[in-house]
Symmetry: C3
Subunit: 151 residues, 3 copies
């Protein structure tokens, strides 16, 4: 079996750290979600740097209650990916925002919907030590952190 | 009592992790400072993602020795908040910089002075394991990390 | 001996945290590399905030297999520095991307090649708990995380 997502788990007491190297051509969101599901990560901080050959970011429109897509159609530096993994309806839920850098250093950012990795994405996931539960917010329809933790 | 700042403390040995969910309409800076003071956090890394309905960022002017305000008057994605909590004159001192994203993906950033949260701000505070002390720098008037730690 | 890089190491089990305060006039990349080498850090997350009086960022050109320089010639806020420290050919290797903020809040970002610190740079290095090994990728010539860990 070829492992397209290379991930290594490190443990120190109750809080695991998982380092994920996402390969060329893989989608960053799918890769991180796959690792989170397989390793049962339900409460963690996520950061990453690397590059994307293309991406789709999102801006949450207050009227439409949905993300407006912001397409990025060229090679960009992943200047920062930052966010968290929580639990929504029993499954790991990734919430990551990104800032991407163009050839001239100008930047574009938003909620990360898709990001095709090239040449690499180096992700560090650090557990916070508890499950972080999400609940749907009636006003927006978004699943938001509920400020409660599970076992 | 209604708790407008929901925060959960997790501990693993000497370093606490605090997850803070800031509610709609709250100021991000006040909310994080309130948690830091209540929980006596004196040395920590801070990261966050979410959204603001408005914000004031700052740029430190070398001539004026003060922050020039950069007002942001529309709904923006909080693409990254990053910084630290230290101790200045016996009290927790938050130093956080932010990058915010507009509807078209363009970004604006600076030292975070105020940020009105909407719909949520998910903050993760991780202690470094010691007090980080700040001292006023005579040249700039800024309280800077002194490279010393307390007990 | 004057210590221009002030760094403090904190330990909790197997994972060290190192807080580094980089002084005015120092190069951020050299300062972090010096601490990483001296303290033998081979696998860590790095974040920082502060200011630069000038910097050189890079954009990796897919055709040239090299970084195109993006010079920044004025005082900027360091809005985020994010990345990792791994091991390449037996030595610590820093991989950090940055987003910098101009006076009007506009941003510029890229791979951090140089950054002259003013008035401070507050760096937090948190070990992941293992050596992270880099291997040269034949397609790009870049040393990429190999998805393997050392002892």
């Amino acid at each position: 079996m070829r492992r397209t997502v290379k991930d290594v788990e490190l443990t120190d007491g109750n809080r695991r750290v998982v380092v994920v190297v996402v390969d060329k051509g893989e989608d960053a969101v799918a890769a991180i979600n796959e690792v989170a599901a397989r390793r049962n990560i339900r409460g963690a901080r996520v950061t990453a740097v690397g590059g994307f050959s293309s991406a789709t970011l999102g801006y949450f429109d207050r009227e439409k209650h949905d993300y407006l897509p912001i397409p990025v159609r060229e090679q960009v530096e992943v200047l920062s990916l930052q966010g968290d993994i929580a639990e929504n309806e029993g499954r790991p839920a990734l919430h990551v925002h990104g800032v991407l850098g163009h050839r001239d250093g100008t930047t574009v950012g938003g909620h990360l919907l898709h990001g095709e990795v090239w040449p690499t994405l180096e992700v560090i996931i650090t557990e916070v030590g508890a499950r972080l539960l999400k609940r749907v917010d009636p006003e927006t329809g978004l699943a938001l952190l509920a400020g409660e933790t599970g076992q």
